[in-house]
């Protein structure tokens, strides 16, 4: 394949990053918004912006959405600059932060914001920040995963800072409310909407940037993910088709799982298609197929070559993840893996896999075996998260017949006047992904 374009991913990404940092440090607007597709270096950007703001002597608060995200940022900050005093504001529940933070001498932890005042950088969750009151606001804030933050959550903390950098991935799972919120649909400040839509509706002139390069997704995955989930804001892969290679020491035994592994190693995608059948969520055959694929991935002595190192890196359990739509499916896969003697492989739902990265992922398709397609299963973000966690290859396990299922459930969503149409449509995106996967199909009757 010859792709002779003048596209230099490193230079493009650097140009975007410096423009973002310039607007953040020297701009006059109160906010800067950055869209970051999967694996485009969002955390790196957040850490770098935090360090530069701290260097410039601007007191900074960082708002993330979960405790795990906050702890991860603290660890990254400490790794980049171990000397920098960092404050970790935490809840008063038991076991409120990652124990690894206790080993970092310059990280102060407290449940009271007042104890941490004066620390150059203070990090916490949106939920915890919402309980903080200040006489004088922070000069700067960074809001991470801003597209997963609800508008009402931003309302509760926006009074704490003067200006902010908002970073997030618009393609991932939207925030939701557990009760109906139709009565506010169409209002710019719909409390159940995303923080970014409210922010931009009220401040349309804010500079908006986009990280243009995914360093995670391989050249085989970026066009599909970009086209299916980011149709109006495309991105590219940071690596070329020859830059990553996945190979196995043990040759395939001819079984479906082995063949789909080879297909995925070769092309980046593999669809292991089981015979059409309606099943409950924890379809035992599909669950066993997922577990078998994982087992074979590890048994066959996989090795990954990438731009990170010239020498092959062994494909170990910690470099493999399984993604599902439901928690009971994840539990069933974990049990099946334990039965096959596999440990150390991450198995989780799309919600919990957001922001994570692996060499190979094995995905149980959200619509596999389902007799019906609900809005939950059609949600674009869920499929996007599951299809964009891998650096090398993604194997999807699915029952045949999902295309027909989609056709039987055309989207007939109600429409609220005044709301911005969110793209793409889950129904459409599912069709696009299935059409692509069909080219890498390995039918298998277990």
């Amino acid at each position: 394949m010859t792709t002779t374009t003048a596209f230099d991913p490193g230079a493009e990404a650097a140009r975007a990053t410096s423009a973002i940092l310039h607007d953040t440090l020297h701009g006059t607007d109160r906010g800067v918004v950055v869209d970051s597709p999967p694996g485009a270096g969002k955390s790196t950007l957040v850490v770098r912006a935090a360090l530069e703001l701290a260097d410039a002597g601007r007191p900074l608060m960082v708002v993330a959405q979960t405790n795990a995200q906050v702890d991860d940022l603290v660890l990254r900050l400490a790794e980049k600059n171990p000397e920098l005093p960092v404050g970790r504001l935490h809840s008063s529940d038991s076991d409120p932060y990652d124990k690894a933070l206790d080993d970092l001498p310059n990280v102060r932890k407290s449940a009271k914001a007042a104890d941490l005042r004066g620390t150059p950088v203070v990090l916490s969750t949106a939920a915890k920040w919402a309980h903080v009151t200040v006489d004088e606001p922070w000069r700067h804030a960074i809001v991470d995963e801003a597209y997963q933050m609800r508008s009402d959550s931003l309302l509760a903390v926006a009074g704490l800072f003067e200006r902010a950098l908002f970073v997030g991935d618009p393609g991932q799972l939207d925030p939701f409310a557990i009760v109906g919120s139709e009565q506010w649909a169409g209002l710019s400040y719909d409390p159940s909407g995303s923080a970014v839509s409210t922010l931009l509706a009220h401040n349309p002139g804010l500079p908006q940037h986009r990280l243009p390069v995914s360093w995670r997704l391989p050249a085989s995955a970026a066009p599909l993910v970009s086209g299916a989930f980011y149709p109006y804001t495309p991105f590219r892969s940071g690596t070329g088709h020859g830059d990553r290679r996945l190979s196995f020491a043990v040759p395939a035994d001819g079984s479906g799982p082995d063949r789909v592994i080879d297909e995925a190693a070769e092309s980046g995608w593999g669809l292991l298609e089981l015979p059409a059948r309606h099943t409950p969520r924890t379809d035992p055959e599909a669950v066993r197929a997922v577990a078998t694929v994982v087992r074979r991935l590890l048994d066959r002595g996989g090795a990954a070559v990438s731009e990170r190192s010239p020498d092959p890196t062994p494909l170990t359990a910690d470099r493999v993840a399984v993604g599902t739509a439901h928690r009971d499916q994840a539990a069933a896969v974990r049990a099946a893996l334990a039965e096959l003697g596999v440990s150390g492989v991450t198995v989780d739902t799309a919600n919990r896999l957001q922001g994570r990265e692996y060499d190979v992922t094995v995905v149980l398709h959200p619509l596999s075996g389902r007799p019906d397609a609900t809005a939950f299963h059609l949600e674009t973000g869920r499929l996007c998260v599951l299809a964009s966690r891998h650096r090398h290859a993604c194997v999807v396990v699915c029952r045949a017949g999902v295309t027909d299922l989609l056709d039987a459930y055309p989207s007939t969503e109600p429409v609220q006047l005044g709301t911005l149409v969110k793209f793409p449509d889950g129904w459409e995106a599912n069709h696009t992904v299935l059409a692509h996967l069909a080219e890498h199909r390995v039918p298998w009757r277990p």
Binding site: D152, G180, Y189, P191
Partner: protein, 529 residues
């Protein structure tokens, strides 16, 4: 839908009669509810056709608009409605008890307790179905910005005096009905389908007649057959035997009966206006009165079956014992009622057309909290609801096999006994997960320590054992005790405090600015809607 509910529905199909979906009643029912069965004119927003309303099942008040396109007649209807509803509300507004509420002292900023009034009971509105609740909101919206002649002598087409006030109250009831577990305004179809599982779908359960047919089929008939009759049977005139519960009417009724009656009424009115002498006027008035009576009879004939059905539904619901925590939720409804009473008394303007950012966020937070509260309380009150939570791994019932005394670390060792529990349920317990049991109505927390064997878990009791070194008697489970533990919390924590609307941040458009009174809806010259 949980598998337990699905099973109940399928059993209903197979047995021909609705099956219990609850073992207790999960909503408060007033001893004296105001039942409201409105009808509306097809194709017109906010053009009521008539209603039955009242608190006496044997003597409903019939209100009719003999020509819905006539503004004066619509106003007359609304004024009559106000004459029924407002005195009913007032009868609850006057009787109060002393209560305490925590407020922020404006001077010190501290949270202090203040003594306030709380209405001793609250009114309750019952409508036939969800569309009725929507209609209450619509009526509220159509009335609350109206101007009376007293408020604004210049107002074109001034509204009768108490109509705007009724609009504010109906708006309040409509808003409160969005709060999960609230009972100020309830739809009978929601009430019944919460407590019984029929052999039909949720969509079909919206038909009050069909729903009642499943729950209480006539002797010798199955629920399915009776429901089908309720949905489709027509008399020789082509009219539905069980008219729709409204507010929409059946098109066959509109076209075949109502339209000709309106026409006769219009003709009679025109004739009366053209009367040339007293005698002619008398005769023509008689014709007009007859025409009006005909429309009244038509409206009565379409509302009375629904009216009776609502009361029958209430009878069925009263047979269920009230859930233990229903009273607590009703107290919140009383606060809601008292709060609106106070806002009206304080001369505050009607509710705005749209919530501001802070109000919207506060309402959403309240509703999410109330949903979580309702989910927890229904499960604690009702073993059938708890069964659903057990099936999904959010709760488990078990028997205590062993208790070992242990103490926590710290300067003053406090009791932290380890309890071994056997269960046949499959709770989704992660390490360190908290579980809760109800101890004298209060939640006691236990931490998941580990799994000893299949179906045997070890828990550490964390609280409710008193301050001493030895736990208070009865506070620690004993061998052989059986109880249910939940993975969800029993009580809800208050959320974060949002800024005042005047302090709305720049991200949300800044402060909304000086409140200008909402303008009344523009009135068109023509007397159509």
């Amino acid at each position: 839908m949980s598998l337990i509910t699905t099973l109940a529905r399928l059993e209903a199909v197979s047995t021909g009669v609705a099956q219990p979906a609850a073992t207790v009643r999960h909503r408060h029912l007033s001893g004296q509810p105001l039942v409201f069965v409105p009808l509306t004119t097809s194709g017109e927003a906010g053009a009521p056709l008539g209603a039955l309303v009242g608190t006496d099942r044997d003597a409903p008040r019939l209100l009719v608009v003999p020509q819905p396109r006539d503004r004066d007649l619509r106003f007359a209807f609304l004024a009559e409605l106000a004459d029924v509803v407002l005195p009913y509300l007032d009868s609850y507004a006057g009787s109060v008890e002393a209560a305490e509420r925590t407020e922020t002292d404006p001077e010190t900023g501290k949270r202090v307790k203040v003594e306030v009034e709380l209405c001793a009971d609250a009114p309750q509105l019952i409508v036939p179905g969800r569309a009725g609740i929507e209609y209450v909101r619509l009526l509220g919206r159509s009335m609350r910005f109206r101007r009376t002649a007293e408020q604004d002598p210049e107002a074109p087409y001034p509204a009768p005096p108490r109509v705007p006030l009724l609009g504010r109250w109906l708006t309040h009831f409509g808003e409160r009905a969005r709060v999960p577990g609230s009972s100020l305004l309830l739809a009978m179809t929601d009430l019944l389908s919460r407590h019984w599982a029929t052999g039909q779908s949720g969509i079909e359960d919206q038909h009050l007649g069909a729903l009642l047919a499943w729950i209480d089929p006539p002797r010798g008939s199955t629920g399915a057959a009776a429901a089908r009759t309720a949905e489709l049977a027509r008399d020789t005139d082509g009219q539905l035997v069980c008219p729709p519960a409204g507010p929409a009417t059946d098109p066959a009724f509109d076209n075949k009966l109502l339209a000709p009656a309106f026409e006769r009424y219009d003709r009679a009115r025109t004739a009366l206006a053209g009367a040339e002498d007293g005698l002619q006027a008398d005769t023509r008035l008689g014709i007009l009165t007859a025409a009006e009576r005909e429309i009244r009879d038509l409206v009565a004939s379409r509302t009375r079956p629904t009216w009776d059905a609502v009361w029958r539904g209430l009878d069925l619901l009263h047979r269920l014992p009230e859930g233990a925590r229903v009273e607590e939720r009703w107290t919140r409804d009383r606060w809601s009622f008292t709060g609106h009473r106070d806002r009206v008394l304080a001369g505050e303007p009607p509710q705005p057309r749209r919530d501001d950012a802070v109000t919207a966020a506060n309402k959403l937070a309240t509703r999410e909290r109330e949903q979580a509260r309702l989910d927890a309380q229904e499960a604690l009150d009702d073993p059938l609801v708890m069964a659903g939570r057990r099936l999904s791994g959010e709760a488990f019932a078990g028997e205590v096999l062993d208790v070992v005394m242990a103490y926590g670390e710290g300067k003053r060792p406090s009791p932290r006994p380890l309890v071994t529990v056997r269960t046949e349920d499959r709770p989704q317990l992660a390490e360190g997960a908290k579980t809760y049991r109800s101890l004298g109505g209060k939640p006691q927390s236990m931490e998941f320590v580990g799994q000893e064997a299949a179906g045997v878990v070890v828990l550490r009791v964390l609280d409710k054992m008193g301050r001493g070194k030895e736990p208070e008697p009865g506070s620690v489970p004993e061998k052989g005790d059986r109880f249910t533990l939940t993975l969800f919390e029993h009580e809800q924590r208050g959320g974060a405090k949002l800024p005042d609307p005047e302090a709305t941040p720049w991200t949300h458009g800044g402060p909304p600015g000086e409140g200008v009174p909402e303008p009344a809806d523009a009135m068109t010259q023509e007397d159509v809607l």
